[in-house]
Symmetry: C2
Subunit: 161 residues, 2 copies
Amino acid sequence: MLERACRLLQSYNLRNTPQRRAILAILIESRGEHPDSEEIYRRLKANKTGKKVGRATVYRTLELFEKLGIVARLTLDGTPARYELILPERFVHHHLVCLKCGKLIELDDLAAKEFKNTVFRRKGFTVADKAMKIYGYCRDCQNAEQSGKSTAVIDASASIQ
Amino acid sequence: MLERACRLLQSYNLRNTPQRRAILAILIESRGEHPDSEEIYRRLKANKTGKKVGRATVYRTLELFEKLGIVARLTLDGTPARYELILPERFVHHHLVCLKCGKLIELDDLAAKEFKNTVFRRKGFTVADKAMKIYGYCRDCQNAEQSGKSTAVIDASASIQ
DNA sequence: GTTAGTGCAAACGTTTTGCAAGGTA
DNA sequence: TACCTTGCAAAACGTTTGCACTAAC
């Protein structure tokens, strides 16, 4: 992973700086957690051994990594963007996003493939490999959601006020 | 639609103000366009016959309508939220979101149903009726996307600089 | 008259940008 | 040496909030 990134940087005359290495290291060690920019920044600061890193650099680096195809940016509603490594061996990253707890669950490609074909057939729309996000409720939150469903209108009135 | 909204407001002791009526009217006349808050605000200002409406009121009204189930809020990446009426007769609103031109295409429920079942079977994840968003490339943008696909890395280097 | 709703402006949190200083190749 | 990259601070952006005023019921 690290070597792959180094090669990519080199091939574009981009510099292999300690900041970029540190951010990549955090992305590697937090695989599956989908940290946001603030979380990455926090971890950089916690890491006393490394150089000082500014918030702007975090954003600029993540943007760069995204362009290089090293990192995927995930956005969910109005919340801060979250980032994850793109693993070369498993290119497709569909996500199930829990509307209650915000958890991201990765969906295997197989289930998606058939659906993508259907969408293409019906609408001429090509589903992007890395960008499919499905909103709903995860197993853990499901009971709560179902009991809340029938009282949705009452919930609305409760939150007004 | 208007009557339905009036009844909803009444039933919660919420007031039927000219601002709320104006915003609802815009949502009705812009069906299928998915305007964002700024676009709604702009149309309100353009409408000289109506009262003056502040930005905050637009946000507060849209939030209220969302809670009442009149309006659905759509968020796409880092772009401003977009809004659409929820039509009672067609409750489900899956969207195909074009990553290139930003167009939203509504996906009929049938194609989605089967996929939802698969997801539930495999992951115990319940896909929310109103919140499924599928990213990809619409028919119109597709040729451009395909020719760009193979040169993705070059594109990245081009936008660096 | 009561209370919900409004406009304004200021605050908010995330992200982007300008710029001079610093570090990599 | 060249110029990419950084940190800082300030700005930008969409959105939310506090408050005194207004208007619906």
